[in-house]
């Protein structure tokens, strides 16, 4: 039963469905399948700590009824999230863990996994719940191969973005621009979500609390890199959604980039507008994990961003730092709430259906 106290449309910009290798095997060709079955291949992991919470990365109450890992069961996700909170739409940003684009070698395996994941996601999630929209997974280390995968599954009506991990690579480099060209061609946005980035310059911090606190720095590096490498000048229709870094770092980043642009713009003559303007026009930031903010504090950040269009609500279900649609944000005025909970995301994902009629 939806527990709507308020009639609010919710477009949730970060929901993690989860795959297991055994789910993926039927979608993999050989030799890839045999490398997992026979050679017990698993993806590389780097993080030296665990999340010191009740159930690791997950909400402890999101374990599925038959004891499966959180995010593996559509029925339970419907019950605990989509129906309970009354979602209009949700964007799946599951990714393998880590993403195929995070692999440091054997990109062919990454590409095979990405294709299998896309087929699995379409069949088991996107085509089973009308509210769920998906992310095209690629192995971006090889942009030509990645473009072929975007051509293959990007036209699916429920694929709305291409997912890139925030990790050790910065994706603004012209080497990766064929990916953005393909994104524009298929009306897909670019979603970036961190995987396991060591926060730069300090490398891996000693404790998880430091890593989790400093995640926005990894997001800032990507935004700066995309803007100063001219991605948005070259692809004027491109939308970038920065997922799970929050938004309170954004006013600082915009101000800093503008100042640097005034002083150093001759180094990057392909960037033709003030960086803050480019960010306002092209980049969106998801709320979660949101700090506890009063309405006044919240509005100070919005004022400094100079736009009400840049913040999109996200739960990050089923992870431990899940944000509740009714509890996480302070009360805001109705027009701004409508933007943050749904309309900003709708504008950032051109393939999402336009609203029909009045409030649900």
């Amino acid at each position: 039963m939806p527990k709507r106290q308020k009639q609010r449309r919710i477009i949730d910009t970060d929901i993690h469905e989860r795959v297991t290798y055994s789910d993926l095997l039927p979608y993999l060709d050989n030799p890839w399948r045999r490398y997992i079955e026979d050679n017990h291949w698993v993806q590389e992991k780097h993080m030296p700590y665990t999340q010191p919470t009740v159930a690791g990365v997950d909400r402890a109450d999101a374990v599925t009824p038959d004891g499966g890992a959180a995010g593996t069961d559509l029925r339970f996700m419907q019950e605990q999230l989509l129906d309970a909170e009354g979602h209009e739409y949700g964007i799946l940003s599951g990714a393998l863990d880590p993403s195929p684009s995070s692999m440091h070698g054997w990109y062919e395996m990454g590409a095979a996994l990405a294709s299998a994941y896309n087929d699995w996601q379409i069949e088991n999630w996107l085509e089973k719940d009308s509210r769920l929209y998906g992310s095209v997974h690629i192995a971006a280390q090889d942009p030509q191969q990645a473009v072929r995968e975007i051509e293959r599954v990007g036209p699916h009506p429920k694929m709305v973005q291409i997912l890139l991990p925030i990790d050790t690579r910065s994706w603004g480099d012209p080497y990766y621009h064929p990916i953005y060209e393909a994104a524009e061609r298929h009306n897909l946005s670019i979603g970036m979500h961190h995987n396991e980035p060591p926060t730069h310059f300090g490398g891996w911090p000693r404790y998880f609390i430091e890593w989790h606190t400093m995640l926005p720095t990894a997001h800032m590096i990507e935004v700066s890199n995309m803007v100063f490498n001219g991605v948005f000048d070259k692809f004027p229709g491109l939308h970038l959604i920065m997922i799970e870094g929050g938004f309170t770092h954004v006013p600082h980043l915009m101000k800093k980039m503008d100042q640097q642009y005034k002083e150093l713009r001759h180094e990057i003559p392909w960037v033709k507008r003030m960086p803050s303007r480019i960010i306002q026009d092209h980049v969106r930031f998801t709320t979660q994990p949101v700090e506890e903010l009063s309405q006044r504090e919240f509005m100070q950040f919005v004022d400094q961003m100079g736009s009400e269009d840049m913040i999109c609500f996200a739960t990050d279900y089923p992870h431990w730092d899940y944000d509740s649609p009714l509890q996480a944000l302070p009360k805001l005025d109705a027009a701004l709430e409508e933007k943050i909970y749904s309309e900003n995301a709708r504008a950032a994902y051109p393939k999402l259906p336009r609203p029909t009629g009045g409030a649900k």
């Binding site: 009740v54 909400r59 402890a60 431990w320 899940y322 944000d323 509890q327």
Partner: protein
């Protein structure tokens, strides 16, 4: 108001269970020394059901970097979502901000039954 929750052996030391007191969801916790405590089953942060979390311990405050001493095992209620912690023997005070407290309820054992009162 009074509610019989269960037989006292139904909650083992170091475990907890959810119940209701009238319309109020409560969580009844049993510490390792066998005592019972009851609180509103709703996290003060974003309202998660605390009974889905875990009863665990704390790491003792220290001046020595790298020194870990695990204390209060079974006396700390950790939320299933963002892991905020409450000290159940200290009136449900939040460890990070002790002036915030869970609403607590009186618990008695009557004929081996756990009874919660408001």
């Amino acid at each position: 108001m009074r509610e019989v929750v269960c037989h006292k052996e139904d909650i083992h030391p170091g475990k907890m269970r959810s119940a209701t007191l009238g319309k109020i969801p409560v969580v009844v916790c049993r510490t390792k020394d066998g005592e019972f405590y009851a609180f509103a089953n709703r996290c003060l942060h974003q309202g998660a059901p605390l009974s889905e979390g875990v009863l665990c311990g704390d790491t003792k405050r220290t001046d020595i970097h790298g020194n870990y001493e695990y204390i209060k095992d079974g006396e700390i209620l950790r939320c299933p979502w963002h892991a905020l912690e409450y000290d159940i023997k200290n009136d449900g005070a939040m460890l990070a901000e002790p002036d915030k407290k869970l609403r607590s309820f009186q618990v008695t054992i009557e004929d081996d039954q756990v009874v919660v009162y408001k």
